[in-house]
């Protein structure tokens, strides 16, 4: 009997293990994508452990969002199909929730892309895990550049109104699962650049919001600050990381640093992938650095390199680093076993 069990166990380990190992590797092969004029932007959603790829499109038959999970289940979304009459869709941000939903911040254009003015709708869309559109919220006058969702279905969005009302206004909005405003915080009055801190194009990098261990983290790249909120929207801390970033500049002998990606682990330690600008004629270098919760530079996780390095996407729920590997010109992958 024991012998039979051993044989069965050996058989199972041979058949199941490769599948398990494969499941820890998420592969995005776009070689069959006939709409691939514009490439996908790729991000890691640590809450739902999924790779999310998104792009703008003017073709309803072309996918705008593709979601790949470590379990092997994939979802492809065609949001433009859900809005007859719209000429194009621009995707500004996407996030997943542990409930399997996908929340998208998008603008729909009702007219040719190169004609203006045309009607534009600024929306938050929620798709379920099977790819069916479940909720549409018109968030005008906001345009949300970054989104996150908690396990209760609340949506956090960081956006701007385009200098709508003159005075200060909140940049961070918490929406209930039914689209009511539950809270507003992070006033433009906190920043000298006002709402420009959430718009793309800061030389310091891009803003980002994400949830980690029941905290909402808001990285404002323009001011190099990390804000920590409770999921009720209460500000718990505001940490300036500019001294740690300046230390990176000094240690690398560079001229300035641009943060490419930021992740926060369960102990509030911060991992940065940074671009280190060098004095001429040296090329810019890329490095991975760890910063302590109190905002001090701790160490280089990966030494700086001016070669073609992998992109750091963030951390898994159990704090493993996640990298996007280039497998070929049309294929990228995430290996969740890689440390």
């Amino acid at each position: 009997m024991n012998q039979r069990l051993r044989v069965l166990a050996a058989f199972l380990s041979l058949t199941v293990s490769p599948a398990t190992i494969f499941a820890q590797r998420i592969v995005f092969d776009s070689s069959r994508d006939i709409c691939s004029k514009l490439g996908f932007q790729v991000q890691w959603d640590s809450e739902s452990q999924r790779m999310i790829a998104y792009r703008d499109t003017s073709e309803p038959a072309c996918p705008s969002v593709r979601v790949f999970s470590s379990s092997g289940s994939n979802v492809t979304l065609y949001p433009l199909k859900d809005f007859p009459g719209a000429n194009y869709i621009d995707i500004w941000a996407v996030t997943g929730s542990v409930r399997g939903e996908i929340v998208i911040s998008a603008t729909l254009g009702y007219g040719p892309r190169n004609t203006r003015p045309i009607p534009i709708k600024s929306l938050l869309l929620t798709y379920d895990a099977t790819g069916i559109l479940r909720a549409v919220w018109d968030v005008d006058p906001y345009l949300h550049h970054h989104v996150a969702a908690d396990s209760a279905g609340n949506v956090f969005a960081l956006g701007e109104k385009g200098a709508a009302s003159g005075g200060d206004y909140p940049l961070l909005i918490k929406y209930s699962p039914t689209g009511e405003v539950l809270g507003e915080t992070l006033s433009t009055g906190l920043f000298s650049a006002k709402d420009a801190v959430v718009v793309s194009g800061s030389p310091n990098g891009e803003a980002k919001i994400f949830i980690k261990k029941d905290h909402l983290l808001v990285w404002i790249a323009a001011t190099q600050e990390l804000f920590t909120f409770s999921l009720d929207g209460v500000l718990l801390s505001r940490s300036s990381l500019s001294s740690a970033i300046q230390q990176m500049v000094d240690l690398s002998g560079g001229t300035r640093v641009r943060v490419l990606e930021v992740g926060v682990d369960s102990n509030q330690g911060i991992v940065f992938q940074v671009l280190l600008r060098q004095k001429l004629p040296a090329k810019a270098k890329v490095a991975l650095a760890r910063v302590t919760p109190d905002g001090s530079f701790e160490n280089w996780i990966e030494p700086s390199s001016d070669g073609d390095v992998h992109r750091f996407l963030g951390l898994t729920a159990d704090d493993k680093n996640v990298f996007l590997e280039k497998v070929s010109q049309k294929t990228v992958a995430i290996d969740l076993n890689r440390q």
Binding site: G39, S202, L324
Partner: protein, 163 residues
């Protein structure tokens, strides 16, 4: 007298129902494509294909926007209605949205993207200092991430309502 007393709650009830219907209609109108017919909006309101909401609009602001469309004004400079948006260059591996050469040591290309409203965005000169310092400038056919000027000028002209 008793008839009047009866009419007040009936009137209040009718008002409540009317408010509910009007709110539902304005939400459906906000989600529907521009110039949708009243019939199609009403159909969506009666049988919504998905949950709908307009979190930053009340019934009154919805009616106001329907009657008086919003205008944009940027003081002394004409609004472009555009804002910077990162976009992935053609031919790069998915997620490696940088130039030159799709390497992350390059730049993130940002394009001025039309979203309407009181926004202003201009393309930078392609021969930027950053580009000159770091090699191949041919890829910078777009705005890149250094000294982006998409955020000026602001705010609205005094006394002008902007959405």
């Amino acid at each position: 007298m008793s008839l009047k007393l009866l009419l007040i709650p009936v009137a209040l009830l009718l008002l409540l129902v009317a408010y509910h219907i009007a709110s539902g209609f304005m939400i459906a109108k906000a989600i529907a494509a521009p110039n949708s017919s009243v019939k199609s909006i009403a159909a969506v309101m009666v049988r919504p294909p998905f949950q709908m909401a307009t979190p930053h609009r009340t019934l009154l602001t919805g009616i106001r926007f329907a009657i008086i469309p919003s205008v944009s004004a940027c003081g002394t400079v004409t609004c472009t209605g555009e804002t910077a948006k990162p976009r992935c260059p053609e031919g790069c591996p998915q997620g490696y949205c940088y130039c030159p050469g799709c390497q992350i040591s390059g730049c993130t290309p940002n394009y001025c993207t039309y979203v309407g409203g009181n926004r202003y965005c201009v393309y930078r000169n392609v021969s930027s200092i950053d580009c000159q310092q770091h090699g191949d400038c041919n890829c910078i056919s777009c705005e890149e991430d250094y000294n982006n000027s998409c955020t000026a000028p602001r705010p609205c002209a005094p006394g002008v309502y902007c959405e």
